[in-house]
Symmetry: D2
Amino acid sequence: MSAPVSAPRRLRLGMVGGGQGAFIGAVHRIAARLDDDWQLVAGAFSSDAERARASGAELRLDPARCYGDWQAMARAEAARPDGIDAVAIVTPNHLHVPVATAFIEAGIAVICDKPLAVSLDEARGLQRLARARRVPFALTHNYSAYPVIRAARAMVAAGEIGTLRLVQVEYAQDWLAEPLEAGGHKQAAWRTDPAQAGPAGCLGDIGTHAAQLAEFVSGQTPAQISAELHRFVPGRRVDDHVQVQLRYAGGARGLLWASQVATGEANHLRLRLYGSRAALHWDQEAPEQLWLNRLGEGSLCLRRGGHGWPESAAGLAGVTRTPAGHPEGYLEAFAQLYRDFAADLRDPQPSPRVPGLADGVRSLAFVETVLASTARDGAWTTLPD
Amino acid sequence: MSAPVSAPRRLRLGMVGGGQGAFIGAVHRIAARLDDDWQLVAGAFSSDAERARASGAELRLDPARCYGDWQAMARAEAARPDGIDAVAIVTPNHLHVPVATAFIEAGIAVICDKPLAVSLDEARGLQRLARARRVPFALTHNYSAYPVIRAARAMVAAGEIGTLRLVQVEYAQDWLAEPLEAGGHKQAAWRTDPAQAGPAGCLGDIGTHAAQLAEFVSGQTPAQISAELHRFVPGRRVDDHVQVQLRYAGGARGLLWASQVATGEANHLRLRLYGSRAALHWDQEAPEQLWLNRLGEGSLCLRRGGHGWPESAAGLAGVTRTPAGHPEGYLEAFAQLYRDFAADLRDPQPSPRVPGLADGVRSLAFVETVLASTARDGAWTTLPD
Amino acid sequence: MSAPVSAPRRLRLGMVGGGQGAFIGAVHRIAARLDDDWQLVAGAFSSDAERARASGAELRLDPARCYGDWQAMARAEAARPDGIDAVAIVTPNHLHVPVATAFIEAGIAVICDKPLAVSLDEARGLQRLARARRVPFALTHNYSAYPVIRAARAMVAAGEIGTLRLVQVEYAQDWLAEPLEAGGHKQAAWRTDPAQAGPAGCLGDIGTHAAQLAEFVSGQTPAQISAELHRFVPGRRVDDHVQVQLRYAGGARGLLWASQVATGEANHLRLRLYGSRAALHWDQEAPEQLWLNRLGEGSLCLRRGGHGWPESAAGLAGVTRTPAGHPEGYLEAFAQLYRDFAADLRDPQPSPRVPGLADGVRSLAFVETVLASTARDGAWTTLPD
Amino acid sequence: MSAPVSAPRRLRLGMVGGGQGAFIGAVHRIAARLDDDWQLVAGAFSSDAERARASGAELRLDPARCYGDWQAMARAEAARPDGIDAVAIVTPNHLHVPVATAFIEAGIAVICDKPLAVSLDEARGLQRLARARRVPFALTHNYSAYPVIRAARAMVAAGEIGTLRLVQVEYAQDWLAEPLEAGGHKQAAWRTDPAQAGPAGCLGDIGTHAAQLAEFVSGQTPAQISAELHRFVPGRRVDDHVQVQLRYAGGARGLLWASQVATGEANHLRLRLYGSRAALHWDQEAPEQLWLNRLGEGSLCLRRGGHGWPESAAGLAGVTRTPAGHPEGYLEAFAQLYRDFAADLRDPQPSPRVPGLADGVRSLAFVETVLASTARDGAWTTLPD
């Protein structure tokens, strides 16, 4: 009789950013914990040393591993025999590349919030570095981790919708409908500050999510775009609305819009792909459903974990934690990225399971092309390779 | 004791087009009949004399008033003491203006299907003529006649949504997803034939509905547009997809798209207006509901005939035939135009109750500006006054 | 060359009840007019002679055919060479049988609003009379005339859902949530007056609709019921809520409830049938959609006029006035009954196209069994044959 | 300067049941982990010693704390200075009371899956024991932990819907629509085996959830019920469908039904409460939304984490992990129970934060009254105190 096989050890996670009061840091921590593949053991939660220690204490971390700056953390963790396996970077955008650079140079894998960088150049530089050092890198485009979205991608790849004709993707929020940044709202303050968020506001924050989702599911990147950025709220320093026309090399057309002043919308990311044989519709606020509308048939509503999926998607639709009708959502999708990246670290693959630097670079290319087209009054502009 | 007051006599209606096998002609006839304000008494249903008579017989018309050509009909009806009060024009687009001209010159009021004309010049010429002859003219932009849409317009006008920021309007169909016109489908044949439909395909047929609806409810006409027309189906002679970016003088931005190749969509016209205080959402396929999403509140679903409407819309939401929960739809909205035009004829007003020539002219201005912008590779183009 | 074939003449319709201020009379008139098979030519709209004439004048009727009492109307119309082909009875319930009796005895076909009668005995008596005189009779169970409901019935009959297991039918309104009858509300007053409405309030008014719909689609009548009537509003003289458990001979179980105090509900009639192979769901407030949920598959949404219907229903789903996406509703369904009854009169069939006396008798059997079960504190009670 | 305040230590959790292949055990483990209040340290995962150790190894537990029987586990853990703070019982139903008894006698707090017991007597005995020993006890009625459900309960308690009139609660699944138990399906086998599941099948499994949810939100327990159990699948040993009429002391009426043969339904738990002033609607498969339909107003859709909640619910609607539009669901609600029970253990309250033995006893009283009413052919039967 053989001895029971133990699970692999939990991977050790560090975090930069995400101290008291932050939003996305807490999401990363829940996501890391949910499937029990990770254990948070170190952090540089704040550039203020006292706040960094206080955050660490709330998280029950060893005070010796609560760092006041991320450079020190990278060096110290790299030197420990029980050092972190990966660092989660959940700072404002402008720090993503500097922090990631420090950890990559220390040979530590990175899980980075999006957008990857504040410029395409910066993003490409990081990509070159990580390739040179062969350090694994995950970019948390969490919407691509919904099981139903992965099934949709597989279905498109298998030809289920025929030739792609139309892409309609939108991401509508209203939390910046008023000038919150003027009133000291912390999230609003850094996200509308070009020095921290980069030159793209709504475009960089959620426009990139929309672009990535459309690309992820359709398998196609636009060839050319015609864009219009706008600032609705007086005094705001970055765009709070973006709309973009899309042309694809295969002939498809599309529209993308994202707004943070869309009154009444919470976090409304929606994707519709129309092909010559069928259409797919998905709505992030009802993330367990995928509509498959085949030409000349009724509308078929497929559910995560449920029955009736086409052969091409059948496997993916089932890879979750609970059966159909037990709603899973945002945190579970985020957790999926952590689960997948743990698998990538334990079992490296040529095509990793999670989005990474190439996705980040394409996002920045999209951002800069939108900025360029806007600067040319919406002229159609070709995306860089 | 006074004698009972009789209802006013039914108005006498003639029809040009709409013979056997046509779609919209039958819709007009039901609409005219529904509220009992009109009586169909004459027609030129076909240019083939025998088919014209056969159509008339099916409709129980006096054979003497079933004409083989509309010129004769205009002359004869104008000469009769019991001649028609108005003519409904339900021919292919290229005949709208010639037929309307004949009846206007005969002094007969016109109810014309949209689009008004196949060119802006033609539309303006007709407008001048009708003004000169003081002949009433109704254009059947039927979607503007849904009670809920009229309530929405009143609400916007009363400031319910604050300053308009975003317009999202779309009209998606799939009936031309395949080359039906190559197989002898009558509707598809004329609607994709530039000689009959005009130079704009999908744009003229349903793009104009979308533009008119957005304008009707928002009370604003775009100042500039950047457009992209496309033909997805090989061999098709007109566009089957249009997408347009919109800029309004008041600072609002918007997107309009219309497609006849959007797989799985039947007749999906949707409007979303986002203002600084609230948003309004409407979907033609659930036409009895209006969503009012006020900033910082929940989503309020208001129903035709039901309770809870803001003061500004309360009256309009009630002006219908049945209480809330007794679904009314497309035919009732169409009937509303006929009811309203009957009221206009009996009680002329400076601002008539139904869309008319000015709306038709603006539609053609929109069409020609989309064509112009497309010809300039989507350059932002100012709409003519 | 042959002469064109004229349409058959319009049938001549009379109406009893439905004068100024009534609801259902106006619905019948629109329904009769919509498809142009009927022409209203006579009426006894009120027992008050002056109001009867005034109503007739509003409807442009010949004053000679506006009667002050229905007995006189039955005699006079039967004697005219151009007398009415059918009478629509839209009075309060207690007059249905007396009025219908007079017209049947005069040999005139009847279109009667539901419920047929105020007692089972009365209903059976009328049934015997109509059989003896061979007079056609239509009962306006309008919900059975929705195209999608007819398709559902055909699908069930063809075995699409397998063996019926569960019936869930409900009809929720809130218009009697408060004691309107105490404030002089005309509709509320007669509908809560046992002398006019009969002993069953909500049960007779809408409970019978729910029971008829479930029976119409499932093809099965309950064998036994266990019921609970309730009056929520103090001082009300009839029930305003009914709930019933159902047992069917074939083993199915079910629940029916109807309420006129269900806050926030307008006219919410919903049917769900669960079989061993599939389920069907329908909601009167979105009447163009039918959900077909097959065991082990996704949820399929089928639309009136659209594609994807099973073979068994394909024909029925298309028999309407407009294509999919052009919402039809309550008035169109009501009109269908008039269209069908016109066809029955022109082309009598052993199995007529519309519900009739047998349906009315079964409804009254249901009502009396609910009353009997309630009187026995909900004991299971067998329905009479 | 003060030292940072550490978080309280994680509570130590043991588990009985939930070995390889089980469903609900894994759910409990994720729930315990999600908010980082608990740490799984011991278990008796199987009565087969080898499988127990294998399950423990997969969960990275100390082999010394992986027990082959729960009696040994209770004794050993009670004796350890670092023994478990609570045990989660996730066995088949018939073991709930025996296992709980052992741990209560050892002074260890219990988190027990529902239903509490297989008989009312057994449940009451356990309740007496736990009271005598003053051991905290949580029953995982997870649906009561949805934030929106807690807000609904607060709203009802504050009088938001007025006097309760109607309760409509249903729980529909289809996973037992076919005789899975005959084919060796593990879940189906024990859940349809009276020796393991108890005498109530569907009734005990999900009927109790429905009853508890209705009671939790309405704040009222039925006074009398009239019930009908049924077995649709031939050869099944327990009921797979239950329907119940409800009478409340305050005059309300209601219907409850639960079915495991409702074709096409995954886990469809729905609650509708109609009061004299407003109605509340909730659907577990869209758990972030609550519909508030006030009499004479529109339908208001409120969202977890969003705006527009009445004063009475405003606090509760915000107590979650992510903002509105970031879907949370089943696992988060389950985690809430663990978070709340941790708070109860750290800060005991007279009215604990989670359902407990009193809820379990009332559930068994409901179950036995349904069985009794069914045995008397549905006679109205009073629930025991």
